[in-house]
Amino acid sequence: MVSINHYLVLATFMFLCGTLGVLFRRNLLLVLMSIELMLNSVNLVFVSGSRLLGNLDGQVMVFFIITVAACEAGVGLAMVIALFRRYGTVDTNFLRILRG
């Protein structure tokens, strides 16, 4: 019998992967994707939770998250493109003038 904990552990694992991606990938696009991964792990938790508890709130939440994630992705990609357009790079090391 697969208990909720399995799902949670899996989700946590995905979440950590995403976190590591954010922390260590220098390419902005990959950073964005890692964030998506984190959000999806969250979705997983919600879905499994709603399945367990038998109410739909979780699934509703998931829809909203997906939507919002899409918006975020839009804004994020726009920024990355703008950056690439002007400076021809998407490397995070480029973003170093604001410091201290």
């Binding site: 954010v22 922390l23 260590f24 995070t92 090391n93 973003l95 170093r96 003038i97 410091r99």
Partner: protein, 649 residues
């Protein structure tokens, strides 16, 4: 009413001279200052006569309230009894004479308003000192006279040396004053009053059984007060300021540093004799200090060349006698010597002053000599003065000093050493005084040509007072003729009986003292007297033979024979140097250390260091923040981990 005028006139004089009439000519300020004092003298005389007519019982004149706090009370109350009455006369009387004289002495000054206002202020403070009925009012005078002496010593402040001397006087006195203060504190702590009359009443009332604590306290009280007396009356080890104080104008030396202020200590001890009687240890200390001082200063005086320095050290030594007198319980003798000394020492100083004026402010006796023919009057009065001080039979010093020595001998076996020291000091005294006389007035004149032709007798303003003082110095001795000598029409020990109401032996120790006062064989007293007279005669003759015309062969040979001793004496036993290198300098260095190291480096360093530290941390951490996105994320994750750790462990 009259009484208040005594205090009022000098104050008024000081005020007018000091703050109002600052533009007037020296003559005016002289007249003003002098008349203020003469007025005070007249009032004092009248008050005194009234007082004697009233039976001479001590009376307390209540003035306004002064300090009141908690249970502590110190009103402006004044005590008028035989002792303070006598002091009144001495201060105002001799004061007036000296004021008159000062006019002549200061005639070269352009403006003397400061001088006379200080002098008047001094007299006022001195009167407060002797009239105050409680330790606090006395303390006002006590420090007030210190202030005036500070101002007067540094009167010619353009010369930094004088300013330094004044400061030294003030500070050394302050050391004593701390003792005095502690004495006051102790008195209040254990007797809950600082008023003389109340204290006396408390101690003497037969009912008053003082508990052991109080008895012990009295020991400390008297000791502390005696420290004060040491400061004021220039006893060992605090005498060092007095010789330097000679930097002041000579009338000042005469009035303050010979006749009045320096005797404050003796006055105070006499005022509180009932306490000292109860503290035998203190009395022992007092007597010893007095005797040692007497001899110590006398030996220094033997080899001084500065005429005023000689007189200064002789003052110290004479004060030593008075202190010795108090120490052996012979307060009346002490006060009597105070009285006579006031007369002849003032005389000597003023005489020296005349000489100095005549010598155009040269004070070195090596340049004097043979002044007899230039200034006969001065010579005459100086002669009387010298004879008086060396105790030439029949003159005042003879009676007063011998009384003290006699009482020292009879004060108990433990006091024989003190007597010995005193006698020795007497011998020295006659030596250096005669030496002074010889070097100044006899032999041939050693001054340069220029000075020589201006040598002449001083004006009457100056020698007038001298004559009066001379007469006094010759006469006052007969007020206290020892009872072995019978002079028709003169009661013996007049003065001692006069002071009897003041000198009050507490019941606890009464019989001990009565036992001491038991009759001694007259032969003994004759013997003592003979010893001192003989010593006096021998040393005087020696001095005459050595210095009859300048520094004779013997003098020089002696000087070279005892080169070491001579050097030590001329350098005053190196006491000043000692104090300077073992007290002043270390203190200065320590303060320097405290300021430069402790304050600036350590304390302030810590304060500023804290601030610097924060700045440093900030700088470092802002340096660590490279601005990288990933580092930001990393920090967040670390934060989460910390939180979880806090939470789960």
């Amino acid at each position: 009413m009259l009484f208040w005028l005594i205090l009022f006139f000098p104050l008024l004089g000081a005020f007018l001279n000091g703050l109002v009439l600052r533009k007037v000519s020296p003559t005016v300020s002289h007249i003003l200052g002098t008349s203020a004092l003469i007025a005070a003298f007249v009032c004092a005389l009248l008050t005194y006569l009234q007082f004697l007519a009233g039976g001479g019982q001590a009376q307390v004149i209540t003035g306004m309230e002064w300090i009141e706090a908690g249970t502590f009370k110190a009103p402006f109350n004044f005590i008028l009894d035989r002792l303070s009455g006598l002091m009144l006369l001495i201060i105002t009387g001799i004061g007036s004479l000296i004021h008159i004289y000062a006019g002549g002495y200061m005639h070269e000054e352009k403006a003397t308003y400061r001088f006379f206002s200080y002098l008047n202020l001094f007299v006022f403070m001195m009167l407060l000192l002797v009239l105050g009925d409680n330790l606090l009012v006395m303390f006002i005078g006590w420090e007030g006279v210190g202030l005036c002496s500070y101002l007067l010593i540094g009167y010619w402040y353009e010369d930094d040396k004088n300013a330094a001397a004044g400061m030294k006087a003030f500070l050394v006195n302050r050391i004593g004053d701390i003792g005095f203060l502690l004495g006051i504190f102790l008195t209040f702590k254990y007797f809950h009053t600082v008023s003389f009359s109340e204290l006396k009443q408390m101690i003497l009332s037969a009912g008053a059984q003082l508990n052991g604590e109080q008895i012990e306290a009295i020991g400390w009280i008297t000791l502390a007060l005696f420290v004060g007396a040491c400061g004021k009356s220039a006893q060992m080890p605090l005498y060092v300021w007095l010789p330097d104080a000679m930097a002041g104008p000579t009338p000042v030396s005469a009035l303050i540093h010979a006749a009045t202020m320096v005797t404050a200590g003796i006055y105070m001890m006499t005022r509180l004799n009932f306490l000292f009687y109860l503290a035998p240890t203190t009395q022992m200390i007092v007597a010893s200090v007095g005797a040692v001082t007497a001899l110590f200063a006398a030996t220094i005086a033997l080899v001084q060349y500065d005429i005023k320095k000689v007189l200064a050290y002789s003052t110290v030594s004479q004060l030593g006698y008075m202190v010795l007198g108090c120490g052996v319980g012979a307060y009346s003798a002490g006060v009597f010597h105070l009285f006579t000394h006031a007369c002849f020492k003032a005389l000597l100083f003023l005489g020296a002053g005349s000489v100095i004026v005549a010598m155009h402010h040269k004070q070195d006796m090596r340049e004097m000599g043979g002044l007899r023919k230039y200034m006969p009057v001065t010579h005459l009065v100086m002669l009387i003065g010298v004879l008086a001080i060396i105790g030439f039979p029949g003159l005042s010093g003879f009676f007063s000093k011998d009384e003290i020595l006699w009482r020292a001998w009879t004060g108990g076996d433990q006091y024989h050493i003190q007597w010995g020291l005193g006698a020795l000091a007497a011998v020295c005294t006659s030596f250096y005084m005669v030496r002074l006389l010889m070097l100044t007035f006899y032999g041939k004149n050693r001054s340069d040509h220029h000075t020589q032709e201006h040598l002449h007798e001083t004006s009457v303003v100056m020698w007038g007072p001298l004559v009066v003082l001379a007469i006094l110095s010759a006469a006052v001795g007969y007020l206290n003729v020892p009872h072995i000598i019978h002079i028709p029409g003169l009661t013996n020990l007049l003065f001692e009986h006069y002071l009897d109401p003041v000198i009050s032996i507490p019941p606890q120790v009464a019989e001990h003292w009565h036992h001491l006062h038991a009759e001694y064989p007259q032969s003994l007293e004759w013997a003592i007297m003979a010893v001192s007279v003989a010593g006096m005669a021998i040393s005087s003759l020696l001095a005459i033979s050595m210095y009859s015309n300048g520094f004779g062969r013997i003098a020089n040979s002696l000087g070279s024979a005892f080169k070491g001793a001579h050097r030590v004496l001329t350098n005053k036993y190196y006491v000043d140097e000692f104090y300077d290198s073992y007290i002043v300098t270390p203190l200065r260095d320590m303060s320097q250390f405290l300021w430069k190291v402790v304050d600036v480096l350590i304390i302030d360093g810590i304060v500023n260091g804290v601030g610097q530290a924060f700045m440093l941390i900030g700088g470092l951490s802002s340096f660590r923040m490279s601005g990288s996105l990933h580092r930001h994320g990393m920090v967040m994750v670390v934060g989460i981990i910390c939180m979880l750790t806090v939470l789960f462990f």
